[in-house]
């Protein structure tokens, strides 16, 4: 299998098609216009359907209908557009409909700007829509991982009948890297879904609904969803650790920020700074337990994000008071350099005296 040099937006589209997605509904917004552009041409080649909707609101509702009809379906957008899709994402969760939504984040709030940012962490992981629900959130940090996690997103969506969000950013959409794609999946080979709307031929009428007027019935539905979310939390957490074995300080970062952090860690490691990286690949479910164990061993964490401090709240929940959690972030679409982050790491590392032998003793 040869590698192909592609930009992230095209990787996302190609991976979706190879994962069996034949339906895409979207609306233009920078910095992810290359996704609908790619899908408009690529889906023609495979007999799929591309609709440029009149709005993000319409496109997520088209996704809803296509999912009810049993299709693997995707929509993509960037921050302000994802805000508009939140109503639909709440319905997808309530109706238990699989769908893949990619957010190539840009600076906010409001119209913000079109530079890469990570300001939608709260929205993605806390549920930007109304009601008691969870959205599975995957955070790739390279084009290859974007490809792999897109496949995983469609599988998870179908497995749990739940919306899955791929949380990238404008940088991931624009950068070009070599990618090795898995063999394409024939949509006809996917397991049949026994809950979809096909017309009631030879079976009783079927309704897909989220209106449950009796509080006891809705409570039972909420508990059913909760059990599903518990199973996802138990089985689907994913993360990467990098140079953590001897680390006296662990940087926690996701996506593009994690990539920058790796560059910074390489720089300071060359100077003898014992620092590692913990990178959550699933932002929901967040890998609280493995990060907590790491925190108990190292006692010093530095959350680094391209926002003014969002994931750091999950880091604190993971650490649960058993370590020091510091934060460094750059909001507004500013892309920090590895040197800048290396400086922050060094500043904290030496400031806390982690280079002293006593630091190691404290760990024991």
């Amino acid at each position: 299998m040869t590698k192909r040099l592609m930009r992230g937006s095209h990787v996302l589209g190609e991976a979706a098609v190879r994962a069996g997605c034949r339906f895409y509904f979207g609306y233009p917004i920078t910095p992810q216009n290359e996704v609908p552009e790619y899908m408009s041409a690529r889906l023609l080649e495979v007999g799929g359907t591309f609709v440029q909707a009149e709005s993000e609101v319409a496109s997520i509702n088209m996704v809803m209908g296509a999912s009810m009809a049993g299709a693997r379906v995707m929509t993509t957008s960037s921050s302000p557009g994802i805000s508009l899709k939140q109503e639909g994402i709440s319905y997808l969760a309530g109706l238990e409909l699989p769908a893949v939504i990619a957010n190539m984040m840009r600076g906010g709030p409001g119209l913000g700007n079109i530079a890469p940012a990570q300001g939608d962490y709260f929205q993605a992981t806390r549920g930007g829509g109304h009601g008691d629900y969870r959205c599975i959130v995957l955070a790739p940090a390279s084009c290859q991982e974007l490809c792999d996690l897109t496949f995983r997103a469609f599988d998870l969506a179908d497995k749990y009948r739940n919306p899955v969000m791929i949380l990238g950013d404008g940088m991931m959409g624009q950068m070009m890297e070599p990618v090795e794609f898995p063999e394409p999946i024939d949509p006809a080979s996917l397991p049949a879904k026994d809950w979809i709307l096909t017309g009631a031929a030879g079976r009783p009428q079927r309704t897909i609904l989220s209106l449950l007027l009796d509080p006891k019935v809705l409570e039972a539905h909420n508990y059913k969803l909760t059990r599903k979310y518990d199973a996802i939390t138990r089985d689907e957490q994913d993360w990467e650790t990098y140079l953590c074995d001897d680390a006296r300080l662990v940087v926690v970062a996701f996506g593009t920020a994690a990539r920058i952090a790796k560059g910074a860690i390489k720089r300071v490691r060359a100077l003898g700074v014992k620092v590692g990286l913990f990178r959550p690949k699933t932002l929901w479910p967040f890998p609280y337990q493995p990060l907590g164990e790491l925190a108990r061993a190292t006692r010093h964490l530095l959350a680094f994000e391209m926002n003014s401090g969002q994931m750091v709240e999950d880091v604190r929940l993971a650490v649960c008071g058993q370590g020091e959690v510091h934060f460094y972030g750059r909001p507004g679409g500013v892309i920090p350099t590895p040197d800048e982050v290396a400086h922050q790491i060094s500043h904290y590392y030496y400031g806390a005296g982690l280079d002293q032998a006593a630091a190691v003793a404290r760990r024991a």
Binding site: N61, A66, G199, T207, L209
Partner: protein, 254 residues
């Protein structure tokens, strides 16, 4: 003995929740009769609105998929694009289709989606308790126009169906009413034709049905029937608004 009248097969044997004198139950029946007559019960998928007819899935004996308020035609677009051999219809009130869902409606029509929309116009937000609708008449009282709809403050009634006529993708648009046996017969024919348009793959079809809401109009049911003839049809005249089907007058394919 020959059976001359029965419940449509596409309606479940369920008591409806609608208020006395409401037109929804009649319109449900007409839609179900059209589905029966065309023999499409086993390939029809309905999309109910948010509004009084949200519980339509309790009544129609066909597959049903619930849409957020106003988004029925976007949801229906997704359903139909995945399963083009199925018959997909939406059933929407005036607030759903002509206020919050205006964009979805116009663009579904403009794309020429092969869908059938049943648009129930009773000039009020029934389910939420009688607030002003986009179709509320000037001077008509509502819980949010206590002194009557004032054009300076509230604008004037929106004629959505006329707006849809300029969209190239709409091929059949008709406004009917269910306030008299004569009008009900016309409504039945229009609804059946709107399904036939989809079966023939011609494009977007919509039937606007003027319907009574005695509860929120604060009228006796009989007075509500008369009010449609005397007042509502002055603003929303009955008749074919657009017909590019090429069918003859009996609604059959030419």
């Amino acid at each position: 003995m020959k059976k001359v009248f029965s419940k449509p097969q596409s309606l479940k044997p369920t008591v409806m929740h609608y208020c006395p004198g409401c037109g929804h139950s009649i319109i449900h029946r007409l839609v179900a009769e059209a589905i029966d007559q065309l023999g499409i019960q086993e390939r029809t998928i309905g999309v109910p609105p948010a509004g009084c007819a949200v519980l339509a899935y309790n009544y129609f004996d066909v597959d049903m998929g619930e849409a957020p308020h106003g988004r029925a035609l976007a949801v229906a677009t997704g359903l139909k694009r995945v399963q083009p051999d199925k018959v997909v219809f939406t059933y929407q009130g005036d607030g759903d289709i002509a206020a919050i869902g205006t964009a979805e409606t116009i663009h579904a029509a403009n794309r020429g989606e092969k869908l059938t929309a049943i648009f129930v116009n009773n000039g009020t937000y029934g389910m939420t308790g009688g607030q002003m609708a986009p179709t509320t008449l000037v001077g008509m009282g509502s819980t949010t126009t206590p002194q009557g709809r004032n054009p300076d403050r509230d604008g004037t009634p929106l004629d959505l169906t006329q707006m849809l006529a300029v969209a190239k993708g709409s091929v059949f648009l008709e406004r009917v009413a269910v306030n008299s046996p004569k009008n009900i017969k016309r409504a039945a024919a229009a609804i059946k034709k709107a399904f036939q348009v989809q079966l023939d793959g011609l494009g977007f079809a919509l039937v606007e049905v003027l319907s009574m809401c005695p509860t929120n109009w604060k009228m006796e049911p009989v007075k509500a029937l008369e009010w449609i003839d005397q007042t509502m049809t002055q603003v929303f005249p009955l008749g074919v608004i657009k017909d590019q089907t090429g069918y003859d007058s009996k609604g059959e394919t030419a």
